[in-house]
């Protein structure tokens, strides 16, 4: 089962993960990653802009790529866009499968691609206004591990 969602509003990763686990009672292993807005000294809110017409199809294509590389029973990718406060969940990725290594690697791969090769633009509101965030070198290095 594939569950890919681009969300405009806040969501509960724990609830989504619970439903995902319930939907895959026969999977021997479930791996997950939850990413949240990190509380940083001067950051009031974070905004992720998406272009849903490309962002969502891009997430679907990523999911298809993950499913082609690993044998999974289920894959979930939920990603927020819009304005978020520190502590708010941004992304939940979960994979269910028979084998442990498949699910951990699938989540790792999906996160690396979401962080550096998906259609999101990020800006932060600090004391002195909005600032666009440039791509991080580390994210590109993470992505190149899979090439």
């Amino acid at each position: 089962m594939r569950d890919v969602q681009l969300l405009a509003k806040g969501f509960s990763p724990g609830k989504a993960l619970g439903l995902f686990a319930k939907a895959h009672p026969d999977a021997g292993g479930i791996a997950s990653f939850v990413g949240k807005v990190r509380p940083e000294a001067d950051v009031k809110v974070l905004e992720l802009k998406a272009y849903p017409r490309m962002t969502l199809p891009g997430m679907e294509a990523l999911a298809a790529d993950v499913e082609a590389r690993w044998t999974l029973d289920g894959l979930l990718i939920h990603h927020r866009h819009g304005v978020m406060r520190p502590g708010a969940p941004i992304v939940l990725v979960a994979a269910a499968a028979r084998h442990r290594r498949d699910v951990i690697e699938a989540v790792d791969f999906a996160m690396d691609h979401l962080k550096s090769a998906s259609w999101f633009w990020k800006r932060e509101k600090r004391g002195d206004g909005w600032h666009w965030i440039e791509p991080r070198e580390q994210d590109h290095a993470d992505l190149s591990r899979w090439a």
């Binding site: 017409r53 490309m54 999101f120 990020k122 666009w132 791509p135």
Partner: protein, 80 residues
């Protein structure tokens, strides 16, 4: 009819709006001419990619946007 132009990321700041409507049809030269000079310079840069109706163009200068279509101007993504 017209052509919708969607400005993503910081291009929206440079254009002063998230979207614009331009008379169609529109090719690459026509698009650059219709944009404010500073924005056109940015869009010309190799880091900005272009999509037509949700499909990324391999060669943005080959843009041919018919009436009713949507152009997206995509600066480098900063990640999810």
């Amino acid at each position: 009819m017209a052509v919708a132009v969607v400005f993503l990321g910081k291009l929206a700041d440079l254009s002063g709006a998230a979207e614009a409507s331009l008379p169609g049809p529109l090719d690459w030269a026509g698009l650059l001419e219709a944009l404010p000079p500073s924005l056109a310079d940015e869009v010309r840069g190799e880091r900005v990619r272009v999509a037509l109706n949700g499909e990324l163009l391999a060669e943005k200068t080959a843009l041919r946007a018919a009436d009713g279509s949507e152009i997206a101007l995509l600066p480098p993504v900063s990640g999810g």
